[in-house]
């Protein structure tokens, strides 16, 4: 390239800086006179006096060293390894509070299941943001949804990467995931941060993937192959194919017109990737990432079917308007019919409910149901609604992208605040096997641990916060006998902040 061309390439500088995707331009937020974050802190602190359930949204002040937990029942001999969870654990500093549950710094909860019992430790993901703000003992940066008066400049999304949504084992490391930016690699032994993952490094993609969004819901096939996507506020969607060592094999960029600003999860089948665009718009006058999102009931959900070999769009389906954070699984019949499940909301009020919670306010957001979708080759579609509230769906790991019969979800039977139950649904006959923790518990994601690769075998593992005693417990169920209750439960002496997603890494 000639130097003239080099200088021409600067023409893109201003425009390029605009593409600090996936965020909208929040440039004016730092000059806002109102300290909304201080108002949220005041409101939340006041609400904690009357609503004990808010204990799950308090902040942690630092790491937690190893401690042995008090075990009830017997830890199954077949269950040895590490149960990792990730979630936001600093919501508030120095009298200022984030305005959305998705913004806080990620903390990894590590439960070790061993012959000697169950131990726990927790460590914040030591991102640059966390380290700077922890040292300053105050927030220094605006969040995606929160205006911080006097924020330090945010010139790339990874500046405020909180690594707070999921954690997966990859090639001997752990990757802490945040959907708007890079994965953060952690040392699997110490949980110390090793740095941001540059997915193009040592591949033909070089630095062209540096800083790209890598969603918190990668799909990992039985052989370890990793599929994922990342999206921007402008509707650009990048698709990733990584091998089982986390090395990028193929990447492609899809230009879509999706303007909803929120794309959290996706699906794979044996042959295809499914990107489901929910019925969302943005209020262009609102520069906050989450609060600007509006449900548009006139906008159909759109399913993009993408060939896994080429990472190119091959088909589209339109579905009734809806919104989902999470999907359990998808698979494809031999005739090309695609089936998948969604924890489907009739609107996006639940997204805003998670902002209300941050100021201590509970609302009546309509919960999600499990909906089973069928997409036929001729373009027609069908859906079946499974009764009961549904969130955090999981399936057997070896069936990711393949036909599953069992689907695990959280549910809520008694509580109108948070999940209070876990259940196993047979998607073929609709039968449900449910355990109700009760309204005194705030129940978090439960996942399946099974070494036999046989549905019905193995264990469910998940955490729950017992509000009256202010303690978190980890619970183990036999998959085939969930309603019998946990076969083992281990208590921490204190409450952990409510988290999002996790995975189990079997001991060698």
């Amino acid at each position: 390239m000639q130097r003239r061309e080099a200088l021409k390439s600067m023409l893109g500088l201003s425009a390029a800086a605009t593409a600090l995707s996936p965020f909208p331009a929040l440039a004016n937020l730092a000059s806002a006179n109102e300290d909304i974050m201080a108002q949220f802190a005041t409101s939340f602190d006041k609400a904690t006096h009357s609503n004990p359930n808010l204990i799950g949204l308090k902040s942690m002040s630092g790491d937690m060293p190893w401690q042995s937990l008090t075990v009830e029942g017997k830890l199954p001999k077949a269950l040895r390894g590490s149960f990792y969870r990730n979630g936001p654990a600093v919501h508030q500093r120095n009298g200022q509070r984030y305005t959305h549950l998705f913004e806080g710094d990620g903390m990894v909860q590590h439960f070790n299941f061993a012959d000697t019992g169950i131990q726990h430790r927790a460590k914040f993901v030591k991102t640059n943001k966390y380290k700077q703000e922890q040292a300053a003992d105050k927030f220094l940066f605006s969040g995606p949804n929160s205006k911080l008066p006097g924020s330090l400049p945010v010139n790339k999304t990874d500046i405020i990467n909180s690594a707070n949504t999921n954690i997966i084992p990859v090639n001997g490391e752990l990757w802490a995931l945040w959907e708007a930016g890079s994965a953060t690699a952690l040392d699997a032994s110490s949980l110390d941060a090793k740095g941001l993952v540059n997915l193009g490094e040592n591949t033909r993609y070089g630095n062209s993937l540096k800083g790209l969004a890598f969603s918190a819901h990668p799909k990992i096939e039985a052989d370890g192959t990793i599929w994922n996507f990342g999206s921007t506020i402008n509707g650009d969607i990048v698709l990733y194919h990584l091998n089982n060592r986390g090395v990028t094999q193929k990447v492609n960029l899809l230009k879509t017109n999706y303007r909803g600003g929120m794309l959290h999860d996706f699906l794979i089948t044996q042959k295809n990737i499914l990107i489901i665009l929910p019925s969302l718009d943005r209020d262009k006058a609102d520069e906050r990432l989450f609060s600007a999102i509006r449900f548009n009931k006139t906008l159909p959900m759109k399913v993009l079917v993408i060939d896994k070999n080429t990472l190119t769009l091959t088909r589209e389906y339109l579905l009734d308007a809806g919104f989902a954070f999470h999907f359990g699984n998808a698979w494809e019949d031999t005739d090309g019919t695609i089936r998948f499940d969604a924890s489907l909301y009739p609107d996006c009020e639940n997204l805003h409910h998670m902002s209300d919670l941050m100021r201590g306010k509970t609302s009546d957001a309509t919960p999600a149901n499990t909906v089973l979708y069928t997409l036929y080759k001729n373009g027609s579609t069908n859906k079946q609604i499974i009764p009961g509230i549904s969130e955090f769906p999981r399936v057997y790991e070896h069936l990711t992208g393949l036909r599953n019969e069992l689907l695990v979800t959280l549910s809520s039977i008694q509580s109108d605040v948070w999940s209070d139950s876990v259940r196993v649904i047979n998607v073929n006959n609709g039968k449900q096997d449910t355990f109700v923790y009760g309204e005194e518990f705030l129940v978090e994601e439960h996942l399946i641990v099974d070494y036999t690769q046989q549905e019905g075998n193995g264990y469910l593992v998940g955490t729950a916060l017992h509000v009256p005693s202010k303690r978190t417990c980890v619970n183990i169920f036999k998959v085939g006998h969930v309603s019998d209750g946990p076969v083992c439960r281990a208590w921490l002496p204190t409450a952990l902040p409510l988290g999002f997603h996790g995975n189990f890494l079997a001991a060698n």
Partner: protein, 139 residues
């Protein structure tokens, strides 16, 4: 006039118009010595938006600080933008989403905060005294 001559122009001494001034621009926080810095001086917002530079400079990168001086700058409002071509491919590299992956910055150290600064944030006036302006590289 080609770019190299234009670059040399910025480093030369000329008989200046009575009102012309020098603009000294300090680029700070340069992370390493590799590559070059490409710097553009724009006169007025229209030229900035069109990408039509009044003058340019290309200098070797040096860890820490580099200073360039634009001579013969007539009165008016100006802005500067630059990038650090770290891998010497003579281009400003972006990732697949169009986000910069090489260092860059603007006059007045105009902040990049969830988006680029406005022209108003980076503009400075040249009148009858020499101008000194600074910026720290955004990496």
């Amino acid at each position: 006039m080609n770019i190299l001559k234009l670059s040399a122009l910025s480093l030369s001494c000329f008989i200046l118009p009575i009102s012309a001034q020098t603009v000294q621009f300090n680029i700070e926080g340069i992370q390493h010595d590799k590559g070059k810095l490409y710097i553009q001086l724009f006169k007025g917002e229209n030229n900035f938006k069109k990408g039509e530079a009044h003058n340019v400079a290309i200098v070797n990168a040096k860890q820490g600080q580099v200073t360039v001086t634009f001579n013969d700058v007539e009165p008016g409002d100006y802005a500067i933008r630059y990038f650090h071509d770290e891998n010497s491919n003579q281009g400003f590299d972006n990732n697949m989403f169009g986000m910069p992956i090489e260092g860059y910055g603007f006059s007045n150290n105009a902040p990049v905060n969830f988006g680029p600064p406005s022209y108003q944030q980076m503009t400075f006036m040249v009148s009858n005294v020499a101008v000194i302006n600074s910026s720290t590289v955004n990496y």
